[in-house]
Amino acid sequence: MKKQWPLWEIFIRGQHGMNHRHVGSLHAPDAEMAINHARDVYTRRKEGVSIWAVRSTDITASAPSEKGPLFDPAETKVYRHPTFFDIPDDVGHM
């Protein structure tokens, strides 16, 4: 079998979005072509205004087996949600 192109993770900032969101992955020989491919694969319906491409191998992920120690302690701390304040209308969208 021939060598596969490396895998890239694609992040797109939408028309009204404030941040880039992960939309999927694709194969490309380098960063420039990853952006071109992302444009063709993920923005066909005018979804985005900005694209980020990151080599999948450059992403460090948390281990699923660590889920308990990492996330469970937050479960009982409802006071960490900022829902106990009245936000003045003047502040607008946060």
Partner: protein, 266 residues
């Protein structure tokens, strides 16, 4: 009334409507046939990402066709639609350049043809955005955004494949040598073009040659490909309805459904 005034103000609808119809068919048929050729890769491209990119390009070109042939039908004023022109004319009534009707070949040929056409298409549309005809200028402005990307993408691929492996270089050079003698037709013109030029609707195609030469030279140089020494204008005739044997097969596939089921819709 507003529409009548608009039509009268547009030189496309004044006097030389026969020439305008021919000229619009030459662009619209070229984008239609190239769009069909590119669409033949759908489901067959070597990698998924290229498959989608080629399908996007094909759809862009067919979108341009709808606008150009739609306008041609309006100018003709015989009650025909863009679909009538695309699906109910025979090969001799088609006005596309021969370059676009050649079989799609391998990826090298498809990429090289795309590039040679894109470089011309980009120059043409850029000039047409300044057309005295508001309708032409409007379509050109819309199409130019897509064609700018086509050119960027195809230039990039020509460089990558030309300056790639020994095998990709060989295929790109072979594609260039094969397509070169068909390129001159892009810059060939006749009385139709003189009329469009005189009315400031479109430049004479010969005027686009220098910019095309420069753009092509740049990319071929970077791609380490050898610009052929042979003449560009060997295979002419498509613009006046004299085609290669390949066009009939394209039309047979493209027109089968609407001809077999004339009222089919989906």
């Amino acid at each position: 009334m507003a529409l009548d005034e608009e039509l009268q103000a547009d030189p496309l609808f004044a006097g030389q409507s026969g020439a305008a119809f021919e000229w619009l068919c030459r662009i619209g048929d070229s984008t239609l046939i190239l769009g069909h050729r590119v669409s033949e890769w759908c489901g067959h491209a070597p990698v998924l990402e290229e498959d989608i990119a080629l399908a996007n390009t094909a759809l862009d070109l067919i979108g341009h066709t709808q606008m150009w042939l739609g306008l041609a039908a309006e100018v003709e004023g015989q009650g025909r639609s863009a679909d009538d022109l695309a699906y109910r004319r025979d090969a001799m009534a088609f006005r596309n350049i021969k370059l676009v009707e050649l079989p799609k070949g391998d990826m090298g040929l498809t990429v090289m043809r795309g590039f040679l056409f894109d470089a011309f298409h980009f120059e043409l549309l850029t000039r047409l955005t300044a057309s005295k005809s508001p309708r032409v200028a409007e379509i050109a402005a819309k199409a130019l955004k897509e064609v700018s990307y086509h050119l960027e993408r195809s230039s990039d691929l020509v460089v990558r494949l030309g300056d790639g492996s020994a095998e990709s270089h060989r295929r790109m050079q072979a594609a260039l040598d094969h397509l070169w003698p068909y390129c001159g037709e892009m810059f060939w013109g006749d009385a139709v073009d003189d009329a469009m030029d005189a009315a400031d609707i479109a430049p004479h195609p010969a005027e686009l040659r220098d910019a095309w030469d420069a753009a092509v030279q740049d990319v071929l140089g970077e791609a380490t490909l050898q610009r052929p020494e042979t003449r560009l204008d060997v295979h002419l005739g498509g613009k006046t309805g004299r085609h290669t044997e390949h066009l009939g097969y394209v039309l047979a596939e493209m027109q089968f459904l609407p001809r077999a089921y004339p009222d089919a819709s989906w």
